[in-house]
Symmetry: C2
């Protein structure tokens, strides 16, 4: 029995059968540094998948912030602490006016839960509209609005609208935005008919689980107008696109020409230390606070805030959003060059350091090539580069590295992708 086989057997015995691992032969990672992960045998992998270690695995500034604060104090938000206020101020300065209050949770699931509770209590409307094939978390309610194996039958107060897929779907043409807004209006009508007037429309602002579809410029403003006319609020799930990943804009919603009512964020916020947040308006918090109070034992604790603050400081000092834009453009050009030689590349989407490569078995029909994507995913791993796959057909290569990804790293990824596609 190899060491990995023995770990797998222990894992099955101790953690059971509901967990999933990446890859046919799972990786046994023991160390991380910048864009690199190292397995137990000392092999190095270029990490072009993990967005959680946002400023790079084990960034010394973040590690130092965690160590220093963990040695001094770790309490909660029922005492006054400057760390949480300093971080709230830094974070809110990245938002347009109106998005002025920060509330802290530990995970993106909890942030979406809090956002949905705020929407529910502030609007007094229980209905929720979400986009098909989305992912918003692993709790009961967030699983209800996610399509990744929720398992449970969906509640009547939830309506799902199709994903605005501009590559394969119907969301094309000059009136795509208006037609889509109509679909959302119909979903709102369905909820009202069932006795659940809509209080929230929630969307990942890069639709990452849907394979990063390109969204027409007029699309979201029209949808949000319909949502607000129905008495609901727009919750922008920024867990994936937030913190400068897309290059050019710090938040995903900024690319789409809309200011949300509530914003949720998570994964990259503290470089892997469990931290997440909700940002919203005074009015909505007042509406919520009139009917409920909020406390999260670990949310907004001094150590989490120190780690999150270090992330914002490193993003600024190392100019990582700019790096995401520049290296993202370079990577995009490289992918487009590959597309000239590999007919399997049907489309390239995304921006900054979140790129999706849509693999097809036929460019004319755009038939998704899910099996090929899995083969390329495993082939890249064999060549020492970690990527993922996304999309309803799992045929979109997901390239989403730490923000310290450079041109040299992009060159290595492109060379390996060239080989893996040629195989």
């Amino acid at each position: 029995m190899t060491r990995e086989e023995s770990l797998l057997a222990r894992r099955q015995r101790l953690m059971g059968g509901a967990y999933r691992l990446f890859y046919g032969r799972p990786l046994h990672i023991v160390r991380g540094e910048g864009v690199w992960l190292f397995d137990a045998a000392g092999r190095r992998y270029l990490d072009a998948y993990n967005n959680v270690p946002h400023v790079g695995h084990c960034h010394p500034r973040v590690v130092e912030a965690i160590c220093t604060q963990a040695a001094a104090l770790n309490t909660h938000t029922r005492y006054l602490h400057e760390g949480v206020l300093d971080y709230a101020e830094m974070l809110l300065s990245r938002f347009p006016p109106g998005l002025e209050i920060a509330m802290f949770t530990c995970t993106g699931s909890e942030a979406n839960e809090l956002a949905l509770r705020i929407a529910r209590l502030a609007t007094d409307r229980p209905g929720i509209i979400a986009v098909e094939n989305g992912y918003h978390g692993n709790t009961w309610l967030t699983a209800q609005i996610s399509d990744e194996e929720p398992g449970e039958p969906r509640e009547d107060r939830i309506a799902i609208v199709p994903c605005p897929d501009t590559f394969r779907g119907t969301c094309r043409g000059p009136d795509a935005g208006a037609r889509y807004a109509q679909a959302v209006a119909q979903a709102a009508d369905r909820l009202r008919e069932r006795g659940y007037p809509p209080g929230a429309f929630i969307m990942d602002t890069v639709l990452s689980s849907n394979g990063l579809p390109d969204i027409p410029a007029d699309w979201l403003p029209e949808v949000v107008a319909v949502v607000r006319a129905a008495g609901a609020v727009f919750i922008a799930d920024e867990v994936q696109p937030g913190f400068g990943r897309m290059g050019g804009h710090f938040w995903g919603f900024e690319r789409l020409g809309v200011v949300p009512d509530i914003v949720t964020m998570g994964k990259p916020m503290a470089n892997g230390h469990p931290a997440a947040a909700v940002v919203t308006s005074q009015d909505l918090v007042d509406g919520f606070g009139a009917r409920a109070s909020y406390f999260n034992t670990f949310g907004g604790n001094p150590v989490s805030c120190a780690a999150a603050r270090a992330v914002l400081e490193v993003l600024d000092e190392e100019r990582l959003p700019e790096n995401a834009r520049e290296v993202g453009q370079y990577l995009r050009a490289g992918l487009e060059a590959l597309a000239e030689r590999h007919a399997a590349i049907g489309d390239i989407r995304g921006s900054g350091l979140f790129q999706g490569v849509d693999l097809v078995s036929d460019r004319a029909t755009r038939a998704p090539a899910g099996k090929l994507a899995q083969a390329v995913h495993n082939g890249m791993r064999d060549r020492g580069v970690l990527i993922g796959t996304i999309g309803a057909h799992d045929n979109v290569l997901k390239i989403r590295p730490p923000m310290v990804f450079s041109r040299e790293h992009a060159d290595l990824l492109l060379a390996c992708l060239d080989e893996a596609l040629a195989n």
Copy 2:
């Protein structure tokens, strides 16, 4: 404007009105060590309230474990890692047979969410029975089964049973267990009539929000027999009593003569680093895993597991569960001595390092003295000792210090409580 007033104004502006602070004049804590907290003016407070820093504020072993692992690697459970397996093995060794699988979350709310999803999918029954005035979390579903200002109207699939209050309530006499089991059976019937057959009965095994009522020995076994006969599982919420706090037993359920189907834990697990878990049987995980998969981005990450492992090691090496029993008995004797001189002490409950002092305005009627409890709470703070208040009438002094609380600390607390009650 004092420094605290300025922090309060910033907090209101940046974090809004749904958060609550402790005390009329909130504390501004900047440093912690063992059982001590220090405010910005350098004043020292004996912490007899916080259970999250379980082995003491900033325990060097836990801080070192966090720093070492954060500098080496922090990823997730989709790669193999020995740290999570070693911790799962250590944790599961503290459970009786049948509680054999560990799944990881970041917070107690998430642990209860996962437990309820496992129960829902494995039993295929949507109904939930919970105890009145309980607290199980801040997400939608956990707020639905909590009485602390949930704000939202309660869903039809939830039934609440009264708390088995042996001091003021009806849960007294030799047949108390049987009568209570009947109340649970009636709740199960109500759920079935509404079309939601019960899949879960959830209870904090020390009923902490209810003021630590003494539970008759036969109570829980009879209730759980009814729960299982109805096709539901028993979820023991060990977020408060777990990890040796009650002295004598490592888990709250062990005091009550029942082996749960699912156990949830959180707060003290990693001494304040966000970590929590669900422990259950292979069968229930298989039933869940057949219909859903599970992943939690930060749950079970190497740093959280290193911190949690250090907590278990310190508990063993410093014999802290034994300390909880010994110092708990000493503290209890001191509280009983105070009761001889202070008629306001109506009852003393709990065990180990979780004691509740029920204040009354009249020992004969047992009328709860909520205002007095608040005055004592604030009076203790003025004397440099932090405690809390709990119970449906908020009249029970909550004494729940870090596990490194000694006899000397107990003496200081008792002396201050004597003064505060005399005032």
